[in-house]
Subunit: 147 residues, 4 copies
Protein backbone atom coordinates (compact mmCIF):
# COMPACT_ATOMS: atom_id res chain seq x y z
CA UNK A 1 0.00 0.00 0.00
CA UNK A 2 1.41 3.41 -0.83
CA UNK A 3 2.36 5.66 2.06
CA UNK A 4 1.06 9.23 1.97
CA UNK A 5 2.20 12.33 3.81
CA UNK A 6 1.80 16.06 3.25
CA UNK A 7 3.86 19.19 2.74
CA UNK A 8 2.97 22.85 2.46
CA UNK A 9 4.62 25.15 -0.04
CA UNK A 10 6.33 27.79 2.09
CA UNK A 11 7.62 31.22 1.16
CA UNK A 12 11.11 29.70 1.42
CA UNK A 13 10.30 27.24 -1.38
CA UNK A 14 9.15 29.70 -4.03
CA UNK A 15 11.37 31.37 -6.61
CA UNK A 16 11.17 34.79 -8.27
CA UNK A 17 8.94 33.26 -10.97
CA UNK A 18 6.34 32.48 -8.30
CA UNK A 19 6.68 28.69 -8.45
CA UNK A 20 8.49 26.12 -6.34
CA UNK A 21 12.24 26.20 -6.94
CA UNK A 22 12.85 22.56 -7.84
CA UNK A 23 15.71 21.77 -5.42
CA UNK A 24 13.19 22.54 -2.68
CA UNK A 25 10.94 19.75 -3.95
CA UNK A 26 13.76 17.36 -3.07
CA UNK A 27 13.90 18.69 0.48
CA UNK A 28 10.16 17.97 0.73
CA UNK A 29 10.76 14.57 -0.88
CA UNK A 30 13.46 13.78 1.66
CA UNK A 31 11.13 14.87 4.46
CA UNK A 32 8.48 12.51 3.06
CA UNK A 33 11.00 9.65 3.09
CA UNK A 34 11.73 10.52 6.75
CA UNK A 35 7.99 10.28 7.48
CA UNK A 36 7.82 6.95 5.64
CA UNK A 37 10.66 5.47 7.67
CA UNK A 38 9.22 6.74 10.95
CA UNK A 39 5.52 6.11 10.43
CA UNK A 40 5.50 3.08 8.14
CA UNK A 41 8.82 1.28 8.38
CA UNK A 42 9.20 1.64 12.13
CA UNK A 43 12.62 3.29 12.25
CA UNK A 44 12.97 7.03 12.54
CA UNK A 45 15.93 8.83 10.99
CA UNK A 46 17.30 9.87 14.38
CA UNK A 47 17.50 6.32 15.68
CA UNK A 48 18.69 5.01 12.33
CA UNK A 49 21.48 7.56 11.90
CA UNK A 50 22.61 8.17 15.46
CA UNK A 51 22.08 4.81 17.14
CA UNK A 52 22.26 2.32 14.26
CA UNK A 53 24.79 4.29 12.18
CA UNK A 54 22.80 3.61 9.05
CA UNK A 55 22.05 6.11 6.32
CA UNK A 56 19.97 5.80 3.16
CA UNK A 57 21.60 8.02 0.55
CA UNK A 58 19.91 8.52 -2.80
CA UNK A 59 21.98 7.04 -5.61
CA UNK A 60 19.63 7.57 -8.52
CA UNK A 61 16.82 9.97 -9.21
CA UNK A 62 14.54 10.37 -12.19
CA UNK A 63 12.02 13.15 -12.00
CA UNK A 64 9.36 14.63 -14.25
CA UNK A 65 8.05 18.00 -13.17
CA UNK A 66 4.47 17.85 -14.43
CA UNK A 67 2.90 21.10 -13.30
CA UNK A 68 4.06 23.96 -11.12
CA UNK A 69 3.25 24.46 -7.44
CA UNK A 70 2.71 27.83 -5.86
CA UNK A 71 2.92 29.57 -2.49
CA UNK A 72 0.53 28.07 0.04
CA UNK A 73 -0.26 24.90 -1.94
CA UNK A 74 -0.85 21.81 0.18
CA UNK A 75 0.78 18.84 -1.48
CA UNK A 76 0.05 15.14 -1.00
CA UNK A 77 3.19 13.07 -1.31
CA UNK A 78 2.73 9.38 -2.04
CA UNK A 79 5.55 6.86 -1.71
CA UNK A 80 5.24 3.43 -3.33
CA UNK A 81 8.11 0.96 -2.93
CA UNK A 82 8.65 -0.77 -6.28
CA UNK A 83 11.67 -3.03 -5.97
CA UNK A 84 13.65 -4.28 -3.04
CA UNK A 85 17.26 -5.32 -3.51
CA UNK A 86 19.76 -6.73 -1.07
CA UNK A 87 21.21 -3.31 -0.22
CA UNK A 88 18.90 -0.93 -2.08
CA UNK A 89 15.30 -0.20 -2.91
CA UNK A 90 13.48 1.73 -5.58
CA UNK A 91 10.47 3.86 -4.75
CA UNK A 92 8.09 5.91 -6.85
CA UNK A 93 7.12 9.23 -5.34
CA UNK A 94 4.27 11.39 -6.61
CA UNK A 95 3.46 14.92 -5.48
CA UNK A 96 -0.11 16.08 -6.09
CA UNK A 97 -2.03 19.22 -5.22
CA UNK A 98 -5.76 19.68 -5.68
CA UNK A 99 -5.75 16.27 -7.34
CA UNK A 100 -3.27 17.35 -10.01
CA UNK A 101 0.11 15.58 -10.23
CA UNK A 102 2.94 18.05 -9.75
CA UNK A 103 5.92 15.74 -10.03
CA UNK A 104 6.69 12.07 -10.33
CA UNK A 105 10.02 10.67 -9.23
CA UNK A 106 11.71 7.29 -9.26
CA UNK A 107 14.29 7.16 -6.52
CA UNK A 108 16.87 4.49 -5.65
CA UNK A 109 17.97 4.50 -2.02
CA UNK A 110 20.91 2.50 -0.73
CA UNK A 111 21.36 1.21 2.78
CA UNK A 112 24.76 2.46 3.95
CA UNK A 113 26.90 1.87 7.01
CA UNK A 114 27.78 5.42 8.06
CA UNK A 115 31.04 4.29 9.69
CA UNK A 116 32.45 2.46 6.66
CA UNK A 117 30.47 4.53 4.14
CA UNK A 118 29.74 1.29 2.27
CA UNK A 119 26.46 -0.36 1.27
CA UNK A 120 25.19 -3.02 3.64
CA UNK A 121 22.25 -5.42 3.59
CA UNK A 122 19.03 -3.98 4.92
CA UNK A 123 18.56 -4.80 8.61
CA UNK A 124 15.89 -7.52 8.88
CA UNK A 125 13.09 -5.36 10.33
CA UNK A 126 13.55 -2.64 7.70
CA UNK A 127 13.78 -5.25 4.97
CA UNK A 128 10.57 -6.90 6.11
CA UNK A 129 8.71 -3.59 6.35
CA UNK A 130 9.77 -2.45 2.89
CA UNK A 131 9.00 -5.91 1.46
CA UNK A 132 5.44 -5.71 2.79
CA UNK A 133 4.93 -2.48 0.83
CA UNK A 134 6.43 -3.96 -2.32
CA UNK A 135 4.48 -7.21 -2.10
CA UNK A 136 1.19 -5.41 -1.77
CA UNK A 137 1.93 -3.74 -5.05
CA UNK A 138 2.96 -7.04 -6.58
CA UNK A 139 6.49 -6.38 -7.73
CA UNK A 140 8.61 -7.99 -5.07
CA UNK A 141 12.06 -8.97 -6.21
CA UNK A 142 14.07 -11.58 -4.43
CA UNK A 143 16.97 -9.31 -3.68
CA UNK A 144 18.58 -9.67 -7.09
CA UNK A 145 18.28 -6.16 -8.46
CA UNK A 146 18.73 -3.22 -8.37
CA UNK A 147 21.60 -4.45 -6.17
CA UNK B 1 -2.07 35.98 23.71
CA UNK B 2 0.96 34.38 22.11
CA UNK B 3 0.47 32.33 18.97
CA UNK B 4 2.03 28.87 18.90
CA UNK B 5 2.86 26.58 16.01
CA UNK B 6 5.22 23.64 15.54
CA UNK B 7 8.14 22.54 13.40
CA UNK B 8 10.07 19.32 13.13
CA UNK B 9 13.84 19.22 12.73
CA UNK B 10 14.41 17.51 9.41
CA UNK B 11 17.52 15.87 7.99
CA UNK B 12 17.80 18.92 5.72
CA UNK B 13 18.15 21.19 8.77
CA UNK B 14 21.04 19.45 10.49
CA UNK B 15 24.72 20.17 9.94
CA UNK B 16 27.78 17.92 10.07
CA UNK B 17 28.07 18.66 13.79
CA UNK B 18 24.68 17.00 14.31
CA UNK B 19 22.79 20.15 15.29
CA UNK B 20 20.47 22.52 13.45
CA UNK B 21 22.39 24.76 11.04
CA UNK B 22 21.22 28.17 12.23
CA UNK B 23 20.09 29.65 8.88
CA UNK B 24 17.56 26.81 8.83
CA UNK B 25 16.07 28.09 12.09
CA UNK B 26 15.16 31.25 10.20
CA UNK B 27 13.35 29.24 7.54
CA UNK B 28 11.33 27.63 10.34
CA UNK B 29 10.84 31.06 11.90
CA UNK B 30 9.56 32.44 8.62
CA UNK B 31 7.23 29.45 8.30
CA UNK B 32 5.91 30.20 11.79
CA UNK B 33 5.25 33.81 10.79
CA UNK B 34 3.32 32.46 7.77
CA UNK B 35 1.23 30.32 10.12
CA UNK B 36 0.63 33.34 12.39
CA UNK B 37 -0.60 35.48 9.50
CA UNK B 38 -2.86 32.71 8.18
CA UNK B 39 -4.23 31.27 11.40
CA UNK B 40 -4.26 34.27 13.73
CA UNK B 41 -4.19 37.47 11.67
CA UNK B 42 -6.61 36.27 9.00
CA UNK B 43 -4.47 36.89 5.93
CA UNK B 44 -2.42 34.13 4.38
CA UNK B 45 0.86 34.86 2.60
CA UNK B 46 -0.54 33.83 -0.78
CA UNK B 47 -3.42 36.29 -0.66
CA UNK B 48 -1.22 38.97 0.90
CA UNK B 49 1.58 38.68 -1.65
CA UNK B 50 -0.26 37.80 -4.83
CA UNK B 51 -3.58 39.61 -4.45
CA UNK B 52 -2.81 42.47 -2.09
CA UNK B 53 0.78 42.99 -3.26
CA UNK B 54 1.95 43.33 0.31
CA UNK B 55 5.08 41.80 1.77
CA UNK B 56 6.43 41.81 5.32
CA UNK B 57 10.22 41.79 5.05
CA UNK B 58 12.31 41.46 8.18
CA UNK B 59 14.34 44.60 8.81
CA UNK B 60 15.88 43.74 12.15
CA UNK B 61 16.66 40.52 13.92
CA UNK B 62 18.22 39.82 17.28
CA UNK B 63 18.67 36.20 18.19
CA UNK B 64 20.15 34.24 21.06
CA UNK B 65 20.75 30.58 20.37
CA UNK B 66 20.24 29.07 23.80
CA UNK B 67 20.64 25.34 23.31
CA UNK B 68 21.10 23.12 20.27
CA UNK B 69 18.35 21.19 18.47
CA UNK B 70 18.88 17.80 16.88
CA UNK B 71 17.46 15.58 14.15
CA UNK B 72 13.86 14.64 14.82
CA UNK B 73 13.24 17.23 17.55
CA UNK B 74 9.72 18.63 17.62
CA UNK B 75 9.87 22.37 18.32
CA UNK B 76 7.16 24.65 19.68
CA UNK B 77 7.43 28.10 18.19
CA UNK B 78 5.71 30.91 20.07
CA UNK B 79 5.12 34.33 18.55
CA UNK B 80 4.28 37.27 20.80
CA UNK B 81 3.69 40.67 19.18
CA UNK B 82 5.37 43.32 21.34
CA UNK B 83 5.00 46.65 19.61
CA UNK B 84 2.89 47.88 16.75
CA UNK B 85 4.05 50.84 14.71
CA UNK B 86 2.41 52.62 11.79
CA UNK B 87 4.26 50.53 9.20
CA UNK B 88 6.08 47.96 11.32
CA UNK B 89 5.74 45.63 14.25
CA UNK B 90 8.10 43.90 16.63
CA UNK B 91 7.54 40.33 17.69
CA UNK B 92 9.32 38.03 20.10
CA UNK B 93 9.70 34.47 18.91
CA UNK B 94 10.77 31.59 21.12
CA UNK B 95 11.62 28.07 19.98
CA UNK B 96 11.36 25.35 22.61
CA UNK B 97 11.75 21.59 22.57
CA UNK B 98 10.94 19.27 25.46
CA UNK B 99 10.25 22.41 27.48
CA UNK B 100 13.77 23.79 26.95
CA UNK B 101 14.22 27.11 25.11
CA UNK B 102 16.33 26.64 22.01
CA UNK B 103 16.37 30.19 20.69
CA UNK B 104 14.82 33.55 21.42
CA UNK B 105 14.47 36.16 18.70
CA UNK B 106 13.25 39.72 18.50
CA UNK B 107 12.15 40.46 14.97
CA UNK B 108 10.99 43.70 13.36
CA UNK B 109 8.74 43.23 10.33
CA UNK B 110 7.79 46.04 7.99
CA UNK B 111 4.64 46.24 5.89
CA UNK B 112 5.79 46.85 2.32
CA UNK B 113 4.02 47.60 -0.94
CA UNK B 114 5.59 45.05 -3.29
CA UNK B 115 5.00 47.26 -6.33
CA UNK B 116 6.73 50.37 -4.99
CA UNK B 117 8.98 48.42 -2.59
CA UNK B 118 8.26 51.07 0.04
CA UNK B 119 6.82 50.77 3.55
CA UNK B 120 3.10 51.41 3.84
CA UNK B 121 0.68 51.60 6.75
CA UNK B 122 -0.72 48.28 7.86
CA UNK B 123 -4.07 47.53 6.21
CA UNK B 124 -6.81 48.07 8.83
CA UNK B 125 -7.73 44.38 9.35
CA UNK B 126 -4.10 43.32 9.79
CA UNK B 127 -3.47 46.29 12.07
CA UNK B 128 -6.47 45.43 14.23
CA UNK B 129 -5.49 41.77 14.44
CA UNK B 130 -1.90 42.50 15.44
CA UNK B 131 -3.07 45.17 17.93
CA UNK B 132 -5.29 42.63 19.66
CA UNK B 133 -2.25 40.44 20.25
CA UNK B 134 -0.19 43.36 21.52
CA UNK B 135 -2.92 44.71 23.81
CA UNK B 136 -3.40 41.37 25.48
CA UNK B 137 0.21 41.50 26.46
CA UNK B 138 -0.13 45.06 27.65
CA UNK B 139 2.43 46.89 25.59
CA UNK B 140 0.36 48.53 22.87
CA UNK B 141 1.96 51.56 21.33
CA UNK B 142 -0.06 54.19 19.55
CA UNK B 143 1.78 53.85 16.29
CA UNK B 144 4.67 56.07 17.35
CA UNK B 145 7.55 53.62 17.33
CA UNK B 146 9.31 51.61 16.06
CA UNK B 147 8.05 53.49 12.95
CA UNK C 1 32.26 22.65 -26.49
CA UNK C 2 31.26 21.95 -22.92
CA UNK C 3 31.02 24.86 -20.50
CA UNK C 4 32.75 24.49 -17.15
CA UNK C 5 32.29 26.35 -13.90
CA UNK C 6 33.11 25.61 -10.26
CA UNK C 7 31.43 25.27 -6.90
CA UNK C 8 32.74 24.74 -3.39
CA UNK C 9 31.08 22.41 -0.93
CA UNK C 10 30.07 24.64 1.96
CA UNK C 11 29.12 23.77 5.51
CA UNK C 12 25.54 24.55 4.49
CA UNK C 13 25.63 21.76 1.90
CA UNK C 14 26.71 18.90 4.14
CA UNK C 15 24.40 16.58 6.05
CA UNK C 16 24.82 14.80 9.40
CA UNK C 17 26.44 11.88 7.54
CA UNK C 18 29.25 14.21 6.45
CA UNK C 19 28.41 14.22 2.74
CA UNK C 20 26.58 16.65 0.46
CA UNK C 21 22.81 16.55 1.04
CA UNK C 22 21.62 15.86 -2.50
CA UNK C 23 19.04 18.67 -2.85
CA UNK C 24 21.99 21.02 -2.37
CA UNK C 25 23.64 19.56 -5.48
CA UNK C 26 20.68 20.88 -7.43
CA UNK C 27 21.21 24.38 -6.04
CA UNK C 28 24.82 24.16 -7.27
CA UNK C 29 23.55 22.75 -10.58
CA UNK C 30 21.13 25.64 -10.97
CA UNK C 31 23.95 28.06 -10.17
CA UNK C 32 26.05 26.42 -12.89
CA UNK C 33 23.19 26.88 -15.37
CA UNK C 34 23.10 30.57 -14.35
CA UNK C 35 26.82 30.82 -15.09
CA UNK C 36 26.31 29.08 -18.44
CA UNK C 37 23.59 31.52 -19.48
CA UNK C 38 25.62 34.53 -18.37
CA UNK C 39 29.11 33.56 -19.50
CA UNK C 40 28.41 31.38 -22.55
CA UNK C 41 24.93 32.12 -23.88
CA UNK C 42 25.12 35.88 -23.41
CA UNK C 43 22.01 36.40 -21.31
CA UNK C 44 22.20 36.59 -17.53
CA UNK C 45 19.33 35.38 -15.37
CA UNK C 46 18.58 38.88 -14.10
CA UNK C 47 18.07 40.33 -17.57
CA UNK C 48 16.27 37.22 -18.76
CA UNK C 49 13.83 37.06 -15.86
CA UNK C 50 13.28 40.73 -15.05
CA UNK C 51 13.58 42.43 -18.44
CA UNK C 52 12.69 39.69 -20.91
CA UNK C 53 10.20 37.91 -18.65
CA UNK C 54 11.62 34.56 -19.65
CA UNK C 55 12.31 31.67 -17.32
CA UNK C 56 13.89 28.28 -17.97
CA UNK C 57 12.22 25.83 -15.58
CA UNK C 58 13.49 22.29 -15.37
CA UNK C 59 10.88 19.81 -16.58
CA UNK C 60 12.86 16.61 -16.43
CA UNK C 61 15.85 15.47 -14.45
CA UNK C 62 17.72 12.19 -14.42
CA UNK C 63 20.61 11.95 -12.00
CA UNK C 64 23.10 9.33 -10.92
CA UNK C 65 25.00 10.10 -7.76
CA UNK C 66 28.31 8.39 -8.41
CA UNK C 67 30.44 9.17 -5.39
CA UNK C 68 29.97 11.39 -2.36
CA UNK C 69 31.34 14.91 -1.93
CA UNK C 70 32.53 16.30 1.38
CA UNK C 71 33.02 19.60 3.19
CA UNK C 72 35.52 21.83 1.41
CA UNK C 73 35.58 19.88 -1.86
CA UNK C 74 36.05 22.02 -4.96
CA UNK C 75 33.81 20.70 -7.74
CA UNK C 76 34.12 21.21 -11.48
CA UNK C 77 30.72 21.38 -13.11
CA UNK C 78 30.58 20.73 -16.85
CA UNK C 79 27.52 21.50 -18.96
CA UNK C 80 27.16 19.98 -22.41
CA UNK C 81 24.07 20.84 -24.45
CA UNK C 82 22.85 17.65 -26.15
CA UNK C 83 19.64 18.45 -27.99
CA UNK C 84 17.91 21.65 -28.91
CA UNK C 85 14.17 21.69 -29.45
CA UNK C 86 11.84 24.50 -30.48
CA UNK C 87 11.02 25.40 -26.87
CA UNK C 88 13.33 23.17 -24.87
CA UNK C 89 16.84 21.85 -24.64
CA UNK C 90 18.53 18.90 -23.01
CA UNK C 91 21.87 19.24 -21.30
CA UNK C 92 24.21 16.79 -19.63
CA UNK C 93 25.81 18.04 -16.45
CA UNK C 94 28.71 16.33 -14.73
CA UNK C 95 30.14 17.22 -11.32
CA UNK C 96 33.71 16.11 -10.66
CA UNK C 97 36.14 16.61 -7.81
CA UNK C 98 39.81 15.63 -7.86
CA UNK C 99 39.11 14.10 -11.26
CA UNK C 100 36.44 11.75 -9.90
CA UNK C 101 32.87 12.05 -11.19
CA UNK C 102 30.47 12.82 -8.34
CA UNK C 103 27.19 13.00 -10.22
CA UNK C 104 25.92 12.93 -13.77
CA UNK C 105 22.61 14.53 -14.69
CA UNK C 106 20.51 14.83 -17.79
CA UNK C 107 18.32 17.89 -17.54
CA UNK C 108 15.56 19.18 -19.82
CA UNK C 109 14.97 22.93 -19.61
CA UNK C 110 11.99 24.66 -21.17
CA UNK C 111 11.86 28.25 -22.33
CA UNK C 112 8.84 29.80 -20.59
CA UNK C 113 7.09 33.14 -20.84
CA UNK C 114 6.83 34.18 -17.19
CA UNK C 115 3.69 36.26 -17.85
CA UNK C 116 1.66 33.53 -19.51
CA UNK C 117 3.54 30.68 -17.78
CA UNK C 118 3.57 28.84 -21.11
CA UNK C 119 6.44 27.47 -23.21
CA UNK C 120 7.66 29.74 -25.99
CA UNK C 121 10.22 29.38 -28.75
CA UNK C 122 13.76 30.24 -27.74
CA UNK C 123 14.62 33.85 -28.55
CA UNK C 124 16.90 33.87 -31.61
CA UNK C 125 20.15 34.86 -29.84
CA UNK C 126 19.70 32.22 -27.13
CA UNK C 127 18.76 29.63 -29.72
CA UNK C 128 21.85 30.39 -31.78
CA UNK C 129 24.12 30.28 -28.75
CA UNK C 130 22.78 26.94 -27.53
CA UNK C 131 22.88 25.54 -31.08
CA UNK C 132 26.58 26.39 -31.34
CA UNK C 133 27.24 24.27 -28.27
CA UNK C 134 25.15 21.40 -29.57
CA UNK C 135 26.66 21.46 -33.06
CA UNK C 136 30.16 21.31 -31.68
CA UNK C 137 29.19 18.09 -29.98
CA UNK C 138 27.53 16.81 -33.13
CA UNK C 139 23.99 16.15 -32.02
CA UNK C 140 22.05 19.15 -33.31
CA UNK C 141 18.37 18.54 -33.86
CA UNK C 142 16.30 20.68 -36.17
CA UNK C 143 13.81 21.70 -33.53
CA UNK C 144 11.81 18.49 -33.74
CA UNK C 145 12.39 16.99 -30.34
CA UNK C 146 12.32 17.01 -27.37
CA UNK C 147 9.65 19.66 -28.17
CA UNK D 1 42.36 44.65 9.24
CA UNK D 2 38.96 43.52 8.05
CA UNK D 3 38.75 40.41 5.91
CA UNK D 4 36.73 40.68 2.70
CA UNK D 5 35.20 38.01 0.51
CA UNK D 6 32.44 37.95 -2.09
CA UNK D 7 29.14 36.26 -2.82
CA UNK D 8 26.77 36.35 -5.76
CA UNK D 9 23.00 36.47 -5.35
CA UNK D 10 21.76 33.31 -7.01
CA UNK D 11 18.29 32.38 -8.23
CA UNK D 12 18.13 30.06 -5.21
CA UNK D 13 18.49 33.05 -2.86
CA UNK D 14 15.65 35.20 -4.16
CA UNK D 15 12.07 35.11 -2.95
CA UNK D 16 8.78 35.72 -4.74
CA UNK D 17 9.10 39.43 -3.93
CA UNK D 18 12.29 39.55 -6.04
CA UNK D 19 14.70 40.16 -3.16
CA UNK D 20 17.04 37.95 -1.15
CA UNK D 21 15.11 35.75 1.29
CA UNK D 22 16.87 36.66 4.53
CA UNK D 23 17.73 33.15 5.79
CA UNK D 24 19.82 32.85 2.64
CA UNK D 25 21.92 35.84 3.75
CA UNK D 26 22.97 33.74 6.72
CA UNK D 27 24.11 30.93 4.45
CA UNK D 28 26.26 33.49 2.61
CA UNK D 29 27.42 34.85 5.98
CA UNK D 30 28.41 31.38 7.12
CA UNK D 31 30.25 30.85 3.84
CA UNK D 32 32.12 34.11 4.45
CA UNK D 33 33.12 32.91 7.92
CA UNK D 34 34.41 29.71 6.27
CA UNK D 35 36.52 31.84 3.91
CA UNK D 36 37.79 33.89 6.85
CA UNK D 37 38.91 30.79 8.74
CA UNK D 38 40.57 29.28 5.67
CA UNK D 39 42.16 32.34 4.11
CA UNK D 40 42.91 34.53 7.12
CA UNK D 41 42.99 32.41 10.26
CA UNK D 42 44.82 29.48 8.71
CA UNK D 43 42.39 26.70 9.57
CA UNK D 44 39.82 25.53 7.08
CA UNK D 45 36.44 24.19 8.22
CA UNK D 46 37.21 20.68 6.96
CA UNK D 47 40.38 20.32 9.01
CA UNK D 48 38.81 22.08 11.99
CA UNK D 49 35.66 19.94 12.05
CA UNK D 50 36.92 16.58 10.87
CA UNK D 51 40.47 16.44 12.22
CA UNK D 52 40.42 18.79 15.19
CA UNK D 53 36.80 18.09 16.21
CA UNK D 54 36.20 21.77 16.75
CA UNK D 55 33.11 23.69 15.67
CA UNK D 56 32.28 27.38 15.93
CA UNK D 57 28.52 27.61 16.42
CA UNK D 58 26.85 31.01 16.43
CA UNK D 59 25.37 31.79 19.83
CA UNK D 60 24.19 35.35 19.24
CA UNK D 61 23.24 37.31 16.17
CA UNK D 62 22.08 40.88 15.75
CA UNK D 63 21.28 41.95 12.23
CA UNK D 64 19.95 45.05 10.52
CA UNK D 65 18.77 44.56 6.98
CA UNK D 66 19.56 47.94 5.47
CA UNK D 67 18.60 47.63 1.81
CA UNK D 68 17.44 44.77 -0.38
CA UNK D 69 19.62 42.68 -2.69
CA UNK D 70 18.43 41.30 -5.99
CA UNK D 71 19.15 38.48 -8.43
CA UNK D 72 22.67 38.69 -9.84
CA UNK D 73 24.00 41.23 -7.32
CA UNK D 74 27.64 40.77 -6.40
CA UNK D 75 28.08 41.37 -2.68
CA UNK D 76 31.24 42.27 -0.77
CA UNK D 77 31.22 40.72 2.67
CA UNK D 78 33.55 42.26 5.24
CA UNK D 79 34.38 40.56 8.53
CA UNK D 80 35.91 42.57 11.36
CA UNK D 81 36.74 40.78 14.63
CA UNK D 82 35.72 43.05 17.51
CA UNK D 83 36.29 41.19 20.74
CA UNK D 84 38.12 38.04 21.63
CA UNK D 85 37.12 36.07 24.70
CA UNK D 86 38.56 32.93 26.20
CA UNK D 87 36.12 30.66 24.33
CA UNK D 88 34.28 33.07 22.05
CA UNK D 89 34.69 36.01 19.74
CA UNK D 90 32.47 38.74 18.38
CA UNK D 91 32.69 39.84 14.79
CA UNK D 92 30.96 42.53 12.79
CA UNK D 93 29.94 41.51 9.31
CA UNK D 94 28.81 43.95 6.63
CA UNK D 95 27.36 43.04 3.24
CA UNK D 96 27.60 45.71 0.55
CA UNK D 97 26.70 45.83 -3.12
CA UNK D 98 27.59 48.67 -5.48
CA UNK D 99 28.97 50.47 -2.44
CA UNK D 100 25.63 50.38 -0.61
CA UNK D 101 25.39 48.52 2.70
CA UNK D 102 22.83 45.75 2.49
CA UNK D 103 23.06 44.32 5.99
CA UNK D 104 25.13 44.71 9.11
CA UNK D 105 25.45 41.90 11.62
CA UNK D 106 27.11 41.41 14.98
CA UNK D 107 27.80 37.76 15.52
CA UNK D 108 29.16 35.89 18.54
CA UNK D 109 30.88 32.61 17.75
CA UNK D 110 31.88 30.07 20.35
CA UNK D 111 34.71 27.58 20.07
CA UNK D 112 33.16 24.17 20.78
CA UNK D 113 34.55 20.68 21.24
CA UNK D 114 32.35 18.65 18.89
CA UNK D 115 32.80 15.47 20.96
CA UNK D 116 31.72 16.93 24.30
CA UNK D 117 29.55 19.66 22.70
CA UNK D 118 30.99 22.10 25.28
CA UNK D 119 32.85 25.40 24.84
CA UNK D 120 36.61 25.15 24.96
CA UNK D 121 39.42 27.70 24.86
CA UNK D 122 40.52 28.74 21.40
CA UNK D 123 43.48 26.67 20.18
CA UNK D 124 46.58 28.87 20.36
CA UNK D 125 47.07 29.39 16.58
CA UNK D 126 43.41 30.36 16.07
CA UNK D 127 43.51 32.61 19.11
CA UNK D 128 46.64 34.36 17.87
CA UNK D 129 45.21 34.84 14.38
CA UNK D 130 41.93 36.29 15.63
CA UNK D 131 43.79 38.48 18.14
CA UNK D 132 45.87 40.00 15.34
CA UNK D 133 42.68 41.08 13.58
CA UNK D 134 41.21 42.49 16.77
CA UNK D 135 44.36 44.35 17.78
CA UNK D 136 44.62 46.02 14.43
CA UNK D 137 41.22 47.46 15.09
CA UNK D 138 42.20 48.43 18.58
CA UNK D 139 39.65 46.66 20.72
CA UNK D 140 41.51 43.66 22.03
CA UNK D 141 40.11 42.25 25.25
CA UNK D 142 42.20 40.17 27.58
CA UNK D 143 39.88 37.21 27.45
CA UNK D 144 37.45 38.55 30.02
CA UNK D 145 34.32 38.99 27.95
CA UNK D 146 32.18 38.00 26.15
CA UNK D 147 33.34 34.74 27.76
Amino acid sequence: MPFTTRAQVRFADVDPAGIVFYPRYFEMLNGAVEDWFEQELGMDFKMMHLENHIGVPTVRLETDFLSPSRLGDRLDITITPERLGRTSCQVTIVFAGDGVARLKAHVVLVCMDLRTQRPIEWPAPLRAAIARGVEEDGTFEAGATPA
